[in-house]
Symmetry: C2
Subunit: 216 residues, 2 copies
């Protein structure tokens, strides 16, 4: 958790530190990322970083959390826009498409997401991922509940299981879609929008299959 000093800091200085940390951690990951580099790029003394955060892990957790909040804010219109009047799978396809676009145009957020999901050390994963998942769950759970009300999900659907699946799979899809040197799985990021939509729908299909009602 950031210190009280951090919260009192000028927004300009906060943003400089945050961007430098997102860049460094997003490029090199947690363990290889260097506080010396972050301080230098932010134009701040290294000692200041320790006045703002309890240590390296605290800074990384903050970066991951802020990144999730930015992504969440960008996805908010799609999460709030679902009222059951459109089909759930169609709505999720829209959201996933917007998500891909967001990563494509926000390399810092993409890098941090990659670093978070590719972290091997269980201690670091646990420290970072729980708050991040809480943020996504806060947006996804109401959507799932609205879908049950609307009959788009089976009444006895295990909502927790569905949300776990989405949280596990979606980052993989999103990141794989922008893996350098390949267009993306199943040509997800292809040039023709209608092809891309169809591919997203195909990826979502097996994820949702257990949860949607059987009949028409």
């Amino acid at each position: 958790m950031p210190t009280s000093t951090w919260t009192r800091l000028s927004p300009v200085r906060r943003e400089r530190v945050l961007v430098a940390a997102m860049d460094e951690f997003g490029t090199h990951g947690y363990s290889t990322g260097s506080l010396n580099v972050i301080a230098r790029e932010a134009g701040v003394a290294k000692g200041s970083l320790f006045q703002y955060f309890e240590g390296k892990l605290d800074l990384f957790a903050y970066v991951a959390e802020q990144t999730s909040l930015r992504i969440y804010a960008a996805m908010r219109p799609w999460l709030d826009g679902y009222d059951g009047s459109t089909e759930l799978s169609r709505h999720l396809t829209d959201a996933l498409e917007a998500w891909f676009d967001y990563f494509a145009s926000h390399p810092l957020e993409r890098g941090v997401t990659a670093a978070t999901n590719m972290e091997l050390d269980p201690a670091v994963r646990n420290a970072v991922r729980a708050p991040v998942q809480d943020i996504y769950l806060a947006g996804l759970r109401p959507l799932a509940e609205r879908a049950v009300e609307a009959g788009d999900l089976r009444e006895d659907a295990d909502v927790d299981a569905l949300l776990s699946l989405l949280l596990l799979l979606l980052p993989h899809f999103a990141l794989a879609a922008h893996t350098p040197g390949l267009e993306g799985p199943v040509r997800l990021a292809g040039e023709h929008p209608e092809v891309r939509r169809a591919n997203i729908a195909r990826l979502l299909g097996p994820v949702l299959a257990d949860f949607v009602p059987k009949g028409p």
Copy 2:
């Protein structure tokens, strides 16, 4: 590339070093993995490691390559067993199922595969993944060609594109299926074999859809 000294080493000593390196790199990844730890666990002086390999990256590349060879050897019966008399998708489902089982019972190989696929540094990725992919391609390409002959793949199918897709997606599936704390995506690793088979087939479906013949 290992030195000539390494090839002259007693198999017992070679195996001790290889296992220690697989364990360390598989647990902590490349950059965080320590040569000091590897030397200690292998019961070998650190200087010896530099008589066997050109440096840390050389050792990691060797570990990744040997791991691929072990996995490839275990999958060999499934690769060679395809002669066009069974359906391709059914055959690949068998192979993927065997792959999951292999990872579940071989934690060292699973760890190294995870470390290889989760590496962020492009230089390390390139040094490691090219030889690894060559190994898999050597097994998969003949299978794909046999499938074209048997009419299981469209004659004009882009075999390279299909192989790229398989190489990109399959490790993700295999690793996600054993992510600690979750049963696996779409309950891949569920208890009922028939459910698992169905889920594997659903995952493979979109990967193959562009490549199989349209009609019956």
